[in-house]
C-alpha cells in the first residue's frame, strides 16, 4: 500500500483507467488514512463516508462505461473554506460550527462527480486558519495542525491542513485558497507544490469570502504535473455567479509542460527575473528581517540548475514591493470587515444565548463567534474605512497597490517569470509567533506583492535546511501565464528530485 500513498494524481488516474484498482477501493484506502491522521489536517467532523462512497461508486460506473477523464475517481480533500453540500463547512471558525451549506462551491463542483465535473471523490474537509486569516494555521478554532516534517512546527497557513495532508501522503491532492500567500507559504513549509492562478481564473462562488479583491483558489499536490491537471479542471468561467470570474475559455494547463526552457520565453530562452531586493539577503527597504542563509543558498542553487537547462537570469527591480505588508493588511482587513458583517447571528451560524436586544445580540454573537485574529482584522478594517481615516489609509493603500502592480508590469518587460523566496524562514515552532500578530504579518513579505497585483504565483520545493525543513521557491508569472509557470516548475522537477522527498515517518 506504500506505493499507493506516494502515487500522484496522474498515476492514480492511470491505475483507475487500467482497472488495477477501483475508485471505491481508493477512497476506502485514503479515507482510512485521513481518519487516522495524526497531524490534525482534517476536521474531526469533516467526513461523510456515505457521500464519499456514493461519489466513488458513481466514478466507478463512469470508468466502467469507458470515460477516460483525466481525474475521474481520484481522491481529493477540500480546504474548509469551500462550502460543500455533503460535508460540514466551518471556515475554521466557531461562528460556523455545524453549518450545512445548501450548495457546493463552483470549484468543488468543477472537480467533483456529476454536473459535468472532473469526477474526483471528496475524502473530507481540511483544517485551516479561521476564515483563511493567518500564516500558521494556529488561528483555527478546532485544532492545531502539525507539520509532517517536524510535529513541533507549524504547517504554515492559511491552507495548513491542505499542505500537511498532501505532504504526509494522506491524500494525493487538496484544494487551497490564497489571499496573501495561503497556498504558496504552506506549500513551501511542507515541501509540496502549489499554485495560485491569476485573480479571476477560479470562481469565488462558494468560497467563503475573506478579501474579495484578492481571494483565489488553487491546487496543492506533490508535483507541478499534478497541479496542472487539477488547475485545468478547477478554472472555468462562472459568469452568472462571480462578477470577477474571467470570461476566458477553459485552458489545458498541461499543454506546455514539456517545452524546453531554452525556447520557453517570449523571445527564445526563458528569462527569469530575480528581484534585486529579494536576492541580497535582506529586504533592503523593508522592516522584514533577513532571509535565512539556507533559503538564499537553496534558491540560488535552483536558479543555477534552471540556467543549466537553458534559462537566463536577469536582475529586476520591484521598488514598491516592501510596502506590500501595510498595503495588504489595510486592504484585506477593510474587505474582511465588510464581508464578515454577514455573521450577525440572524441567518446562519452562532447566536449568543440571551441577548437583551438586537444590537446586543449582534455584538455578543460576533465577539463570541470570532477568534482573536479575525476580531483584529475586523477592527483594523472598520477603522481604516471610517470617516476621517478612509483617505489616509484605505485610499492611500489602494494607490500604492497600483504602484506595486506597475512594478511588476515593468519587470515583465524584461523577463518571462520572476523567481524568489516564498518566505524569509522555514516553518517556525508552534506558538513562536502566536502572541505577536505583527511578526506573522512580516513573514508574508514575499507572497503579498503578487497577491496585490493579482498575478499567478506558485511554490516548488528546492531543498531542505540544516534542520531538515523544506524550502520553497516562489515563481511569479504575468497575468494568465499559469501554463508557463507550470512549465518551468515541471522542467525543474524533471531534472531534480526535491519534490519527491518525504518527511521522515511518512509511509
Amino acid at each position: 500500500m506504500d506505493e499507493l500513498n506516494r502515487s500522484g494524481v496522474a498515476e492514480l488516474a492511470q491505475q483507475l483507467r487500467n482497472k488495477k484498482i477501483s475508485a471505491v477501493e481508493l477512497s476506502q484506502h485514503f479515507l482510512k488514512r485521513a481518519q487516522a491522521d495524526q497531524h490534525g489536517s482534517f476536521l474531526q467532523n469533516g467526513f461523510n463516508e456515505e457521500a464519499t462512497f456514493r461519489q466513488a461508486r458513481e466514478a466507478d460506473a463512469l470508468i466502467a462505461k469507458g470515460d477516460a477523464s483525466p481525474l475521474l475517481g481520484v481522491p481529493i480533500a477540500h480546504k474548509d473554506i469551500f462550502v460543500t453540500q455533503d460535508f460540514v463547512t466551518t471556515a475554521g471558525s466557531q461562528m460556523l460550527n455545524g453549518y450545512q451549506s445548501p450548495f457546493d462551491a463552483t470549484v468543488v463542483r468543477n472537480l467533483g462527480v456529476g454536473h459535468g465535473g472532473a469526477g474526483m471523490v471528496t475524502i473530507g474537509k481540511l483544517n485551516c486558519d479561521e476564515f483563511a486569516m493567518g500564516s500558521s494555521n494556529e488561528n483555527s478554532a478546532y485544532s492545531v495542525v502539525k507539520n509532517p516534517w517536524d510535529a513541533s512546527r507549524i504547517p504554515g497557513g492559511s491552507s495548513g491542513g491542505s499542505a500537511a495532508a498532501v505532504a504526509a501522503c494522506v491524500v494525493p491532492a487538496a484544494t487551497g485558497t490564497d489571499t496573501g500567500g495561503s497556498i504558496r507559504q504552506p506549500a513551501s513549509f511542507c515541501g509540496i507544490t502549489g499554485i495560485k492562478p491569476t485573480y479571476g481564473r477560479a470562481s469565488r462562488y462558494g468560497m467563503i469570502s475573506y478579501a474579495s479583491s484578492l481571494d483565489q483558489a488553487g491546487p496543492m499536490a506533490r508535483s507541478a504535473q499534478d497541479c496542472a491537471l487539477l488547475l485545468s479542471s478547477m478554472c472555468a468561467p462562472d459568469l452568472d455567479r462571480d462578477s470577477t470570474s474571467l470570461d476566458i475559455a477553459r485552458e489545458d494547463f498541461s499543454k506546455n509542460l514539456m517545452t524546453p526552457l531554452k525556447s520557453a520565453g517570449k523571445n527564445g530562452a526563458l528569462k527569469i527575473g530575480v528581484p534585486h531586493e529579494w536576492s541580497m539577503g535582506t529586504t533592503a527597504r523593508g522592516k522584514a528581517k533577513q532571509i535565512d542563509e539556507s533559503i538564499s543558498l537553496n534558491i540560488s542553487n535552483a536558479l543555477k540548475q534552471l540556467q543549466q537547462s537553458g534559462a537566463q537570469l536577469v536582475e529586476i527591480d520591484l521598488p514598491h514591493a516592501h510596502l506590500a505588508i501595510p498595503v495588504y493588511y489595510i486592504i484585506a482587513s477593510a474587505e474582511a470587515s465588510s464581508n464578515l458583517s454577514r455573521f450577525d447571528g440572524v441567518k446562519f451560524g452562532h447566536r449568543t444565548s440571551s441577548p437583551v436586544d438586537l444590537i446586543d445580540m449582534y455584538k455578543k454573537t460576533r465577539t463570541e463567534g470570532f477568534g482573536d485574529e479575525v476580531l483584529r482584522r475586523i477592527m483594523i478594517g472598520a477603522y481604516v474605512l471610517s470617516h476621517g481615516y478612509y483617505d489616509a489609509y484605505y485610499l492611500k493603500a489602494q494607490k500604492i497597490r497600483r504602484l506595486i502592480a506597475k512594478d511588476f508590469e515593468a519587470a515583465f518587460q524584461a523577463c518571462d517569470v520572476i523567481a524568489g523566496p516564498v518566505a524569509p524562514t522555514v516553518a517556525w515552532k508552534l506558538g513562536d509567533k502566536a502572541d505577536d500578530p505583527v511578526a506573522n504579518y512580516l513573514a508574508d513579505i514575499f507572497t503579498l506583492p503578487a497577491s496585490l497585483a493579482g498575478l499567478p504565483g506558485m511554490s516548488i520545493p528546492v531543498g531542505l535546511d540544516g534542520a531538515n525543513m523544506p524550502i520553497g521557491m516562489q515563481l511569479i508569472g504575468n497575468y494568465l501565464y499559469e501554463s508557463l509557470l507550470l512549465n518551468v516548475a515541471h522542467q525543474f522537477q524533471t531534472i531534480t528530485s526535491h519534490h519527491t522527498l518525504k518527511a521522515g515517518g511518512v509511509v
Binding site: Y99, Q100, P102, T198, Y199, G200, S213, L239, D240, S243, T244, L246, D247, K287, L323, I325, P326, Y329, I330, S337, G345, V346, F348, G349, R351, V356, D357, L358, D360, M361, Y362, K363, R366, T367, L375, I378, M379, I380, A382, A392, L395, K396, A397, Q398, K399, I400, R401, R402, L403, A405, E409, P437, V438, Y441, L442, L452, A453, G454, L455, Y479
Partner: protein, 99 residues
C-alpha cells in the same frame, strides 16, 4: 499615530463587537503595533495615482460586468434556513425591535 482606549471602543461599536477591558487593552497594543508599519506608506508620493480596487482592470481584458437582473436561482427557502439560529414560518426570528 496611536489609538487610545476610546478609539478602540468607538471602532468596536462600529464593527458591532463588544470587547471587555483586557481584550480592549490587548487589541489596542496590537493594532498600534501594526500601525507602526503603516507609517512608511505616508512617505510615498501617490499624487495622480488612481486607486486600484481590483486587479481585473489592470489585466485590460474586461471590465467588471453585471448580469441581467433576472431571477436565476429557484426558491430554496427551507434549505437556506436550515442553519439559521431561529426560524418561524419561514421567517428569521430576532429579539424584539419595536416595543
Amino acid at each position: 499615530m496611536s489609538l487610545n482606549p476610546q478609539d478602540i471602543q468607538r471602532i468596536a461599536n462600529l464593527a458591532r463587537l463588544s470587547l471587555d477591558e483586557s481584550q480592549s487593552k490587548r487589541m489596542r497594543e496590537q493594532i498600534n503595533g501594526f500601525f507602526d508599519l503603516v507609517t512608511q506608506m505616508q512617505d510615498i508620493n501617490t499624487e495622480g495615482i488612481e486607486p486600484m480596487s481590483h486587479p481585473v482592470d489592470l489585466m485590460q481584458l474586461q471590465t467588471l460586468r453585471l448580469r441581467d437582473d433576472v431571477a436565476s436561482e429557484p426558491n430554496h427557502r427551507e434549505t437556506n434556513q436550515r442553519s439559521a439560529p431561529a426560524v418561524e414560518r419561514g421567517l428569521f426570528l430576532v429579539p424584539k425591535v419595536i416595543e
